[in-house]
Amino acid sequence: MRLIKKFGIVLSLFFGLTAIAYSQPKGFTVLTDTVTFKNNLSKTAKETKTIQSDFVQEKNLSVLTEKIITKGTFMFKKDNMLRWQYTDPFQYLIIMNKNKVYIKDDNRENKYDTQSNKMFQEINNMIVNSVQGDVLNSKDYAIKYYQNDTYYLVDLTPLNKNMKGFLKSISLYFDKKDFTVSKLTMTEPSGDYTNIAFTNKKVNAEISDEKFHIK
């Protein structure tokens, strides 16, 4: 083969390889054994009755130089009870319990029925399914799996039109030690993104139903 053609082939192979490398999250490799991971996640989900933790949310807007940082607590109880509470720098509470969503901020309280509000229903499903690990079986997302020493990383890209308008992708970081979510990143179509880090996680501690009660 002529030298130039050979060089051309080597070059295109090189660029081809770097293109693949760039489409992977930095520091992560593709997880090939997704079956074992999914089984472990499923097993953990079955054994999980409650989860509670603190969270720190970091919102990154391209128009702002600083990030907007908010903090709060998160609680989950089987089957689909969720409590998401911001405590800093403002008070804001979301409770999801069966088909009802309750939101309370400084000014007022609002209740919604997920059955009559498609968007809430989809968000609720996504959160509950993420916590339960079922989201990996969902046909609503294109899913890619990666890993590094600390985490399994699952990248979800919504396929349905409603979600796509709000969310370009969501990345879930599962702690390799206990298969709980330590971090998640939500990226909007515009490129703005939100990071949420979960700390002080307690699994299967007693949580009263009262915490999820919607009057």
Binding site: V63, L64, T65, I68, W84, D106, N107, F166, E188, S190
Partner: protein, 191 residues
């Protein structure tokens, strides 16, 4: 009527300057919008990006961006992003006009009738169909409210009240429409 007589003259430099004119970062307000029975809440971020150019971004508490507007200089208005449910000309024009009023950018006229009355210095600017009145406290020079009126009987269209000042920045802002069911309450989160 009490008060001094009217003095209509061109505005001087340093008069009716936007409260949000700043080189040092964005203003973030916890904001609640009541519009025709619907309730929307989140964070309104106001950033003075260039001289007489402002970027306004509204995200929900959870971090979903509802709109991202650019206003100024002059009549320039660009929608960088808006969710489908709000992407209607009526809604966008309404928000654009209210934000122009809040940002005092652009002003509807370059001259004003200036008067004093009941503890205020009042600047009245006459536009094509409306008049905007800016009430500054005589005592501390801070902007207390902006009132837009229209028609022969000077009916109030919208009023913005500024209070709880922290230095030169109002911690509380309430924008209330009289002509339609729209009110916006803002509470300063950080500077």
């Amino acid at each position: 009527m009490a008060g001094t007589g009217e003095d209509r003259r061109p505005l001087k430099a340093g008069e009716l300057v936007s409260l949000f004119k700043s080189d040092s970062g964005a203003f973030i307000y916890k904001t609640a919008v009541d519009v025709y029975g619907r309730y929307l809440s989140g964070l309104l971020i106001i950033k003075n990006t260039d001289p007489d150019v402002y970027r306004l971004v509204f995200t929900t508490e959870v971090g979903v961006k509802l709109f991202d507007f650019e206003l100024g200089p002059g009549d320039f208005f660009k929608v960088h992003h808006v969710i489908d449910q709000m992407n209607k000309k009526v809604v966008l024009n309404l928000l654009r006009d209210d934000f122009r009023l809040l940002l005092m950018n652009p002003l509807i006229a370059s001259e004003a009738a200036v008067s004093r009355d009941a503890g205020y210095v009042i600047y009245r600017l006459r536009g094509k169909k409306e008049e905007n009145a800016y009430f500054y406290n005589l005592e501390d020079g801070l902007l207390s409210r902006i009132v837009t009126t229209y028609g022969k009987k000077s009916k109030v269209k919208v009023e913005i009240v500024f209070s709880d000042y922290a230095g030169n920045v109002p911690s509380t802002i309430v924008l209330d429409h009289q002509n339609i069911k729209l009110s916006i309450k803002m509470s300063l989160l950080k500077r």
